[in-house]
Symmetry: C2
């Protein structure tokens, strides 16, 4: 049920002609309230798409009545004219919702905007604005799946989640199939809840959740211009969870969606968990995990079913984490192929025939730990990313 | 003539059986003096191979009479036993040279050791030590090319250079075909000169040269455990260049070898120069160049002959360099496809059919500039690096 699992939300997905072949490409999520709190986490890229710049302002105000999303164009690197397009989309959405929904008085400043697709090209507004009107017309309590489908780009399938909080719910949808990187990556995610929660509580829960889920997904080290994760609360359940309860549910929803993104990464043949243990600090563990996750030689080795622990050690050695090179242990799928920085168990015992791979690195420098998720680097990755815009 | 172009040096390359099929795999370079100054630059990786740890000590003393090099094994991540192997190799080299050359009194501490090949496996000392003896027997003033061939791994051809200083010479050889990254990368380089120059002058010249050549080569972002660049001076010309003259000649030699490494990078179809101009500082320019050079989405786009400037902007946006996103200009092979952060000249005008690509990025934030060199990310890169150890 995606974003419409939580009470108080309607959604839709329509085909506006931004993508070819009649695919759904405009999604609308509306919060009917009674509350309209919102929190957001955005790409750390300094080159931010117009919809990110716009939506940061909306979230800053703490209130959002609707989110309008499009695939088929990122509206990034489009200059002042691109920002005007985003502004016009929000205004049009607000006007259409106000005119067709007696209950709703929506201003442009209450409308978050998300875009995904190619960078550097203007959106075809002559198609997008009629699409917004169609999306408003199609809004329904069962529109979650259509919305999730409409935000797909190279995704092979829609990603949705539902977490039961006990009388209140967190629902969500996400898109993304590559460029998954720190501070998110070409991914959009809209989470909804019918819990009673103010913007501050939403912000705290969302940041805590993203820190250990989307932010530790590092598919190819590239950081997008458009990444946006939004959390909207309707309060329709009348129940106010504790901050811990809200954080736990939002984290579970983000974790579920993050794993779906990982599983659908462009051209990947492996899902790899880099578990770093024995670290002096969690930051150290994340730094080491990220360095290994981003190392093309490690990633190509995994594609080749090669438990090449030497490349893993070389990647660890590029970090500033606390460790001694002679203390490092590495296990690949449970086989400790490296102990004390040198060869240990027979590498031929490592079974890499499956899709799931676990690399465990013990720094022997403390008790902190963290897991970073990544993919292998395959022929298909090169193919998809060398042909994407042509 | 490689390392034997400068007077005072002999070299050799022999087949010791470390590589299969009788390929040359042990190289020896001997400095017959009268001087024996040495300087070195090593990998910044904290996981350093045994020969790097050893040779750092040799260089610290400022004197080296010989360099013994092997391909067919990196002797990295081999623990204390691996270090003993390096030590034994140096001792054996010293003993053989002393016994066969009346002029030379060589101690193990005067012998630099370099190894390259697979990580994590012990060297077959029963083959290597006889190889050292054979290399000593074959030493000659014309042995430079054989030495350059003996250090190759996945290189498709040997890399040598000669720079004429005017009465004195800098010669050199290098190996490397991937993992070219900051602070060098799986590369070995031995430079020789017959100029009169003490260890301090050699060190200053070598560091200055590496900073703008090898250190700005970033083929795949991976940093090796074995990178070593050595500069040996025999003083045999009797001429003492100024520091500026020495630095210029060493830089020219390093630049020539670096470009040969770039041209031979594993599986690459493009040689890409990322020229960053208008930077607030040289550090900013290097940071931006490196971020673009390491971005897999930029690299796959170039492999696909796609002038995807949006991905270039997204890569620039991940840096902390001084710039405003709305000021960025990008040219690909001379066509300014992006001006002021948005689309400009028609991208179809960009000709990417050749092997050489120039990406020029103007940050409009100052007058500093730097160039970083990289390669594209191709199917062949994935193939070679997924199959290397199996």
């Amino acid at each position: 049920m995606s974003v419409t699992a939580a009470r108080g939300f309607r959604a839709s997905g329509v085909a506006a002609g931004l993508k070819s072949a009649g695919a759904l490409d405009v999604a609308l999520v509306v919060n009917d309230g009674p509350d309209a709190g919102v929190a957001g986490v955005f790409t750390a890229n300094r080159v931010k798409a117009a919809p990110v710049l716009w939506t940061q302002q909306v979230v800053h105000g703490g209130v959002a009545r609707a989110v309008i999303l499009n695939s088929g164009g990122a509206n990034a690197c489009t200059g002042p004219a691109g920002f005007q397009d985003t502004h016009a989309t929000a205004e049009h959405t607000a006007a259409v919702l106000t005119s067709t929904n007696a209950r709703l008085m929506v201003g442009a400043g209450d409308v978050a905007v998300c875009s995904t697709g190619l960078i550097g090209e203007r959106l075809p507004m002559d198609k997008l604005l009629p699409g917004v009107r169609g999306a408003a017309r199609d809004l329904s309590r069962s529109g979650g799946p259509a919305a999730a489908e409409a935000i797909m780009t190279t995704d092979s399938r829609p990603k949705t989640t539902v977490v039961d909080g006990g009388g209140w719910t967190v629902g969500g949808m996400a898109k993304g199939a590559g460029m998954l990187s720190p501070a998110l990556a070409t991914m959009l995610c809209v989470l909804t809840t019918d819990a009673v929660a103010g913007p501050e509580a939403l912000d705290a829960a969302l940041r805590a959740a993203c820190r250990v889920t989307f932010d530790r997904l590092d598919s190819d080290g590239a950081m997008s211009t458009n990444d946006t994760v939004l959390l909207l609360a309707s309060g329709a359940s009348g129940l106010e969870p504790t901050r811990a309860e809200l954080t736990a549910a939002v984290t579970a929803a983000c974790h579920d969606l993050a794993q779906q993104l990982l599983a659908d990464a462009e051209g990947a043949t492996k899902q790899v968990a880099i578990e770093v243990v024995g670290a002096a600090s969690e930051d150290d563990a994340v730094e080491v995990g990220r360095a290994v996750a981003r190392n093309n030689l490690v990633k190509t080795a995994l594609f080749g079913n090669d438990p090449n622990w030497g490349r893993i050690l070389a990647a660890v050695g590029t970090t500033a984490a606390v460790f001694e090179a002679d203390d490092l242990d590495v296990a690949v799928n449970g086989i400790w192929v490296c102990r004390s920085g040198a060869a240990a168990e027979d590498r031929s015992k490592v079974d890499l025939s499956g899709r799931d791979v676990t690399v465990r690195i013990d720094l022997h420098a403390g008790t902190a730990q963290a897991t970073v998720w990544t993919n292998d680097l395959s022929h298909a990755y090169v193919h998809e990313n060398s042909a994407y815009s042509t």
